[in-house]
Symmetry: C2
Subunit: 98 residues, 2 copies
DNA sequence: TGCAAATTTAACAAAATTTTAATAACAACA
DNA sequence: TGTTGTTATTAAAATTTTGTTAAATTTGCA
């Protein structure tokens, strides 16, 4: 095997994606969506006891990095996990380090 | 199941751990160690073409978050992954999002 | 001891994120 | 249209992370 070249592009993309989930509230959001499926913004921020704007902000970050998807239904926007494996991964990273 | 309570402590810990690997150079370091096993600081910074101090800094961050372990042998300090599953996780997070 | 190699720390400006508050935009409906 | 319920955007300040450079440690050995 040849000496693998550093692909800065891929590294940056991976880091950027990881940064998007490396935040306590965003991890909490992922956990919520994992157990509840689609949720609208209001139920998310009420459940997490954070400001509406903050929730919207975090949701947008997660969506822009491809972690979440959203679909508008009337007044509500429902968010949901794009890859359900994610919370398993988080759990693992968590457990792996005691 | 009862409405799961938010455990800020755990969330912060998980986020902190994730932040430690959410950096392009640190992901590169993890990749290197995954394929090479134990490495000393010099071979790491030469391979990644970064300053020695920068490498040491990143290594310390990863170690302090429990991602790496280190063992001194004479003048050298050898670093190695504490959990080899990590790079698999990184790969997955990467692939999961195209 | 004195020097060189390898690594760690410290310090600090620059850049990126978070937080917070206020405001704007959108959708449904009387 | 005007009002209300939902969600999104913006802006500014506060906080964290980076990136760099220089100085300090630690170890082996002449």
């Amino acid at each position: 095997m040849a000496k693998t070249q550093l692909d800065m592009h891929k590294l940056d993309a991976a880091a950027s994606r990881l940064r998007s989930i490396a935040h306590p509230m965003r991890i909490a959001i992922i956990g919520l969506l994992e157990s509840n499926g689609k949720m609208n913004v209001t139920s998310i921020y009420e459940r997490l006891k954070i400001e509406q704007a903050a929730a919207s902000h975090h949701l947008n970050i997660l969506k822009s990095k491809g972690i979440l998807e959203s679909k508008r239904d009337g007044k509500n926007t429902f968010y949901y996990l794009k890859h359900s494996a994610l919370s398993t991964i988080l759990e693992c990273i968590n457990k792996c380090n005691d």
